[in-house]
């Protein structure tokens, strides 16, 4: 158990390290930096700019900059933001928390809906419920995320049922804890709905395919012959047997939802990584961009790691494979 998990963990860490290295390599290719716009300002002397660049170490060669950045990561700073004049990590943490809140809720909700729908659809393969669900997922699949998000926003604006932006009401600080949660849930409804709807069709289709494949296995016929109730059969026998492809899909779905949330956060002005990153790109605030990208890698790696653990727990083949001989 430990060996398998340690190997996966080491793999994930190496991946994160590699991404940071790659991101740094790209920054050398980037034309211009944060202080370029100041060059146009006649009130700022060229010497000041040189001094500023030196102060933020932009004039040093890449390996040295990378080393000092690694050092600041170890000190919990992750570089320095030019625009905010502050270390990146605390800035990033606030936004990353909001993004995680959105993404995790959406992931759970999407799977919570997709699993029963997929199983039901596979159980009635080719019959009316299956056809209904299949056509519904097809319709959802051809509507682009952007159109979906904008459509929900138009709906919210027209009807006034849901707030159209932000994650808290104006009087949030004055609310009681219970009302705070309600207010937050209220604000989350729209972005989460957009995320779930955009992720749902793919999940339902894969669950359906995975379950349908298992449903015809001989061991199920035997179990059915034993008189095991249908519900128990589906939950205790079919689902674990179909789990392997679904768990790798779980990691994939986290990546897809993270991507989706980036766009949907901007559209619905949710104060997460999306708007933050966009702003940093437009301002050429490179350390924030690197930090944000790294954050997403860490989330995705964590999701995949979680999927690995679950896989280990559910699929006995992996356990015997990695057992010490």
């Amino acid at each position: 158990m430990m060996r398998y998990l340690l190997r996966r963990l080491a793999h994930a860490l190496l991946l994160i390290f590699g991404v940071s290295l790659l991101a740094f390599l790209f920054t050398t290719l980037a034309p211009g930096n944060y202080f370029d716009e100041m060059r146009l300002n006649p009130q700022i002397a060229p010497e000041t700019l040189v001094a500023l660049r030196a102060q933020y170490q932009l004039d040093r060669p890449l390996p040295l900059r990378y080393a000092s950045w690694l050092n600041s990561v170890l000190h919990g700073q992750m570089g320095f933001s030019f625009a905010y004049n502050s270390p990146v990590a605390p800035l990033l943490l606030v936004r990353a928390k909001n993004t995680l809140l959105l993404t995790i809720t959406a992931t759970f909700l999407a799977w919570f809906i997709a699993l029963p729908l997929g199983i039901w659809s596979a159980e009635r393969l080719g019959r009316f419920p299956d056809r209904l669900i299949s056509s519904a997922t097809s319709v959802l699949l051809v509507i682009p995320d952007l159109a979906l998000a904008l459509g929900l926003l138009v709906l919210a604006v027209r009807t006034g049922w849901f707030p159209t932006g932000g994650m808290a009401s104006v009087d949030f600080a004055a609310l009681s804890p219970l009302h705070k949660i309600r207010d937050l849930a209220f604000h989350m409804t729209l972005p989460v709905a957009a995320l779930v709807l955009s992720a749902l069709p793919l999940l339902v289709r894969h669950v359906r395919a995975a379950v349908a494949e298992v449903l015809h296995a001989p061991f199920l016929l035997a179990a059915d012959g034993q008189g095991i109730p249908r519900g128990t059969l589906l939950l205790r026998y079919v689902l674990p047997a179909a789990a392997n492809p679904l768990l790798s899909l779980f990691g994939f779905s986290i990546g897809a939802l993270l991507s989706g949330s980036l766009l949907i956060e901007v559209v619905m002005s949710w104060p997460g990584l999306g708007p933050f990153l966009l702003e940093a790109i437009l301002a050429r605030d490179i350390y924030i961009v690197i930090g944000g990208v790294l954050c997403s890698t860490i989330f995705l790696a964590a999701g995949n790691f979680l999927a690995d653990i679950l896989l280990y727990w559910i699929d006995p083949r992996i356990r015997t494979e990695s057992a010490p001989r």
Binding site: L150, S259, L277, I281, V289
Partner: protein, 351 residues
């Protein structure tokens, strides 16, 4: 047989859809950047066949719209001014495919302009902008995925055929690209390229960024195919006859990957079109006044536009038929490359 016809059917649908976009100069009634400053945010004019006197006309017509007196954003149809729609009408000059000069349009009206999908803030025809915008978005998606597949093909071939340290390096690199959620990767690549560029450069920039985002997955697929193909008997035989590495790859091994690449293309193109829309929507893509589906939608980021002018939302729906076509094509291709999928399932139910 049925399956093959299925692929053809989807290809036909896609060809028609792309034909409309490709001949944008002809199918769009007006120039996409020509402004009509007197008519900002004009609502869509509805084509009619029956007039107010309940008389049936064979030629469709629209009514001119006018401001309702006393308001500044309410429009009513002016039933005294019917504008019959004429087909194959001379109008603005344009160049078809950038080659042939022409001034004939699919439809239009004689003297006054008709706006079937309304106008934007500068009185530009929304329908023309959607059609011309498709050229940018679809071409970016198409070129981007061609480039992606080319890179994936080369990387996969080198990695699978030569193996050794090249395989290690290339596949570790591919893993790094797969370790990022793709929109973050898109953002990251875009972040390290120049921000303010002219539309043409921006277009090629986007194509390059798109190609950089997606190459890893096809590369891994091609690698797998090359790995199994290079051990096949006919490849060994050809090698025994003294065929060079390059000849073997070109003649015997890479053609094996073509059906997978075709399926990948059908999956990648709509994804890339969506990526272009996302970038342009966020202001990181093709800038105004050149229309693209993404920057047409970016107007919706203004609250007033979102609330008051629903026809500004229409570009978002322009993508839907294309998505449908590509989705159908992809699944038809997948079915063709794995014809046993259905039989396996029916066999399974027997067991």
């Amino acid at each position: 047989m049925i399956r093959r016809r299925n692929v053809r059917l989807w290809l036909l649908i896609l060809a028609i859809l792309h034909g409309i976009i490709l001949c944008a100069g002809f199918s769009a009634p007006y120039d996409p950047i020509q402004q009509d400053r007197k008519n900002p945010y004009l609502p869509p004019m509805r084509p009619h066949f029956v007039d107010v006197g309940r008389r049936l006309h064979l030629r469709p017509f629209v009514y001119a719209v006018q401001l309702r007196p006393g308001t500044f954003d309410q429009y009513v149809e002016d039933t005294t001014q019917p504008r019959p729609l004429k087909f194959f009408l001379p109008g603005d000059r344009y160049r078809l495919f950038g080659l042939f000069q022409s001034r004939f349009h699919l439809f239009g009206a004689d003297s006054d302009r008709v706006y079937l999908l309304g106008t934007d803030a500068f009185g530009r025809d929304q329908l023309s902008r959607i059609i011309f915008g498709g050229q940018i978005s679809l071409l970016a998606g198409f070129l981007g995925s061609c480039l992606t597949l080319l890179i994936g093909w080369c990387v996969g071939a080198v990695s699978g055929y030569f193996g050794g340290w090249r395989d290690d390096v290339l596949m570790r690199l591919a893993e790094l690209f797969l370790a990022l959620p793709w929109l973050y990767l898109l953002f990251a690549l875009r972040a390290f390229l120049p921000l303010t560029v002219n539309p043409l450069h921006a277009f090629f920039l986007i194509v390059a960024v798109l190609a950089g985002v997606g190459w890893a997955r096809p590369a891994r697929l091609v690698r797998g195919i090359v790995l199994s193909a290079k051990e096949r008997d006919f490849v060994r035989a050809a090698r025994g006859f003294g065929a060079s590495n390059f000849y073997l790859l070109r003649r015997h091994i890479l053609p094996e990957a073509s059906s997978v690449l075709l399926t990948q293309a059908a999956i990648l193109i709509p994804q890339y079109v969506l990526a272009e829309m996302t970038l342009s929507f966020l202001g990181l893509g093709v800038p105004e006044p050149v229309p693209s589906w993404g920057n047409l939608l970016s107007n919706l980021q203004q609250y007033s536009v979102l609330v008051s002018y629903w026809w500004m939302y229409l570009p978002a729906l322009a993508m839907v038929p294309f998505f449908l076509g590509y989705l159908g094509l992809a699944s038809a291709l997948q079915e063709r490359s794995d014809p046993y999928m259905i039989e396996r399932r029916s066999l399974g139910s027997l067991a």
